[in-house]
Symmetry: C2
Subunit: 144 residues, 2 copies
Amino acid sequence: MMTKHAKEMGVLKEHLGKHQLKFTRQRELILDAFLKQEHITAEEMYHQLARKDPHLGLATIYRTLNLFCEAGLAQARHFGTQTQYDNVSHKGHHDHLICTGCGKIVEFENCDIERLQEEVASRNGFTIQTHRLELYGLCSRCRH
Amino acid sequence: MMTKHAKEMGVLKEHLGKHQLKFTRQRELILDAFLKQEHITAEEMYHQLARKDPHLGLATIYRTLNLFCEAGLAQARHFGTQTQYDNVSHKGHHDHLICTGCGKIVEFENCDIERLQEEVASRNGFTIQTHRLELYGLCSRCRH
DNA sequence: TTGAAATTGATAAACCGTCTCAAAAATAAT
DNA sequence: ATTATTTTTGAGACGGTTTATCAATTTCAA
């Protein structure tokens, strides 16, 4: 059947080919599930995929999500005690406002900031591939 | 001047007073060591202070750094697998341009970006305490 | 089809940070 | 000062998350 995520699947396959790694049913399943999310933890994905056809071990999920990071499809973000894996290719890249009081996360996008980032990069001779912007502070509720 | 960090020591003592907490030699030592750094992990501080007069347990260091956070002197950030405690009173925040090819890191500062960040935060009811901005890409050398 | 090489899942182990608790220290009361 | 009360400390136990180990399985090129 025709897969929904042909482009990302291609990116993965190219990365696998370049590193003598193999394309497996597990990696395909995990990528499919991953691309449906904006961000997810390994544990969450483990429970989501627990009942799928080939049973997926937690170790495999961790290994695969880390592989996605190396392939540029995902980005790891440590928050609280867990690691969030962000879907980089998710359209409309978003940044995070994180409340240091209660842990609430608000996603936002700001074109002006992105434009300035490009400016800073080119001034330094860089071409940006991706970025990470996290603002830490107190939400209105926690400030009081 | 008696102590080098009189101002911060005052902030700490005020916080202690307000919460029925006690001023101890350990808290004094840890604050002194902390204020010399821009940021530090509990583990790093543990090794730094291992040979000091009163021996400091790792648990005490964690407890005290968290206390500093509550007093507004420090700010915890999850970086990699560990928690970085940032020295809030340390000014001159800088962001990073990171080359994914050779690992080169360029530091930069951009007031316009910072201003826009404040804007985004207040629009969402947040007060920013700190932030983290990393731009990943290829430097001029690696692009060719 | 065959065989070398990589991957998988289960679980052990490592790691980080917090919790527990008896002993010690700091403050308040006498 | 001395005593009483409360908090803090350090050592190690503990819990949750992530990585390492390894035999069995799967992939893929020849």
